[in-house]
Assembly symmetry: C2
DNA sequence: TTTGCATTTGACAATTATGTCAAACATTAA
DNA sequence: TTAATGTTTGACATAATTGTCAAATGCAAA
């Protein structure tokens, strides 16, 4: 029992560390040695638990995707109002991406190198449901009229870009870490105001 | 003369090919061999002309940055109206990023690995000038009131994200290549409508 | 034609990263 | 205590990639 607990601990530790190295620090090319060092374990343990570096990568990546996906689903199928759904999604998203700012960027670089795990069918179902809600809001005059897909693009753009591209934007716009943090905090209100007609 | 022209040709060919491999195809880890193959030249020529792989990378990257920067400057210092400046910037940007969709993402991953070539002072000057213009537009009631920095974030987010993250978005949202192209074409109007009060 | 120079090439050396393996170690159950 | 099982380790083999170098090639001027 405690033996099994120990090995699961090490396994989990390696996973967590890899996730941090890859998606918090953005070091996509980190070697197994670097990951092992960061986790404080012997390098070969990575092979022992995960067979290969690639496999570890895949597992960590897939985990992250599933987690993100579940979060989306929970909110979309909640019985919150449309506006509250967006608001809540913003909260959860900002929290997640502050921890792992490089996750989305990594997904992009992987996507057309052939690696893709998205459950497309399920995702389409979620999207279709959401498109309908968007259309209703347009009818009500709460949001600007446009193709629902464009509204979704607007939403994810305004939400994701400043976090995903933070290193670039913070530097180019000449912000300190604190200054940019502040900017992000104000961001939620700005987004809601931009998307909804007053 | 023609000897010099020939070597410059090869040098330029390698540069162009590297740029394409890195920033059009997103293969950031491409080996020197792969780049050489893509250019149809001997691998060691990369060392001959550029000393090292890293150096080639840096040169290509820096070139791209300067180019982007110049483009921005030209528009900001033009005597177009505010709205026309944004409109023109959208045109030029979409054209560029269709060619090199991975450029921005690469910049992000490099930025906090210590590589940064941006001319910060100059960039700040451009931004400050732009912030002033934004403030004026708010006074006029043409755009929503907010911190000018937030308006800039809105603008670049709406513009860049759908292009930068294309591989991810196209896949997740279930678009074909053509469908997504169409979406992007409609995008300019959507952005202008989202940013400006009617 | 020959000399000189830039360019191109293939062979080699050095480095780095990955994965395998057998041995050492620890822990639990008999 | 001992056997059995799972975990950890260091040493080694393999593979991939980069960079150097001397020789070969081609071209242009003397």
């Amino acid at each position: 029992m405690s033996a099994k607990a120990t090995d699961t601990d090490t396994e989990q530790l390696i996973k967590d560390t890899a996730k941090k190295v890859f998606f918090s620090e953005g070091r996509f090319n980190a070697t197994t040695q670097e990951i092992a060092d960061a986790a404080g374990v012997n390098r070969t343990l990575i092979n022992y638990y995960f067979r290969s570096r690639n496999n570890l990568f895949d597992i960590v990546f897939q985990d992250a995707q599933v987690q993100e996906h579940d979060m989306m689903e929970k909110i979309i199928f909640s019985n919150l109002s449309f506006k509250e759904k967006l608001s809540q999604h913003l909260d959860v998203f900002f929290e997640q991406t502050k921890k792992y700012p490089y996750l989305e960027i990594y997904m992009v670089t992987q996507m057309n190198q052939g690696n893709c795990y998205k459950d497309k069918e399920h995702m389409n179902m979620l999207l279709d449901k959401f498109y309908l809600e968007v259309a209703v809001e347009m009818e009500k005059g709460n949001i600007e009229r446009m193709r629902p897909e464009q509204f979704v693009l607007n939403f994810v753009s305004l939400m994701s870009f400043p976090v995903s591209m933070r290193p670039l934007l913070q530097e180019t716009m000449g912000f300190t870490k604190e200054g940019y943090d502040k900017l992000l905090e104000e961001r939620k209100d700005v987004i809601m105001n931009t998307l909804f007609i007053k």
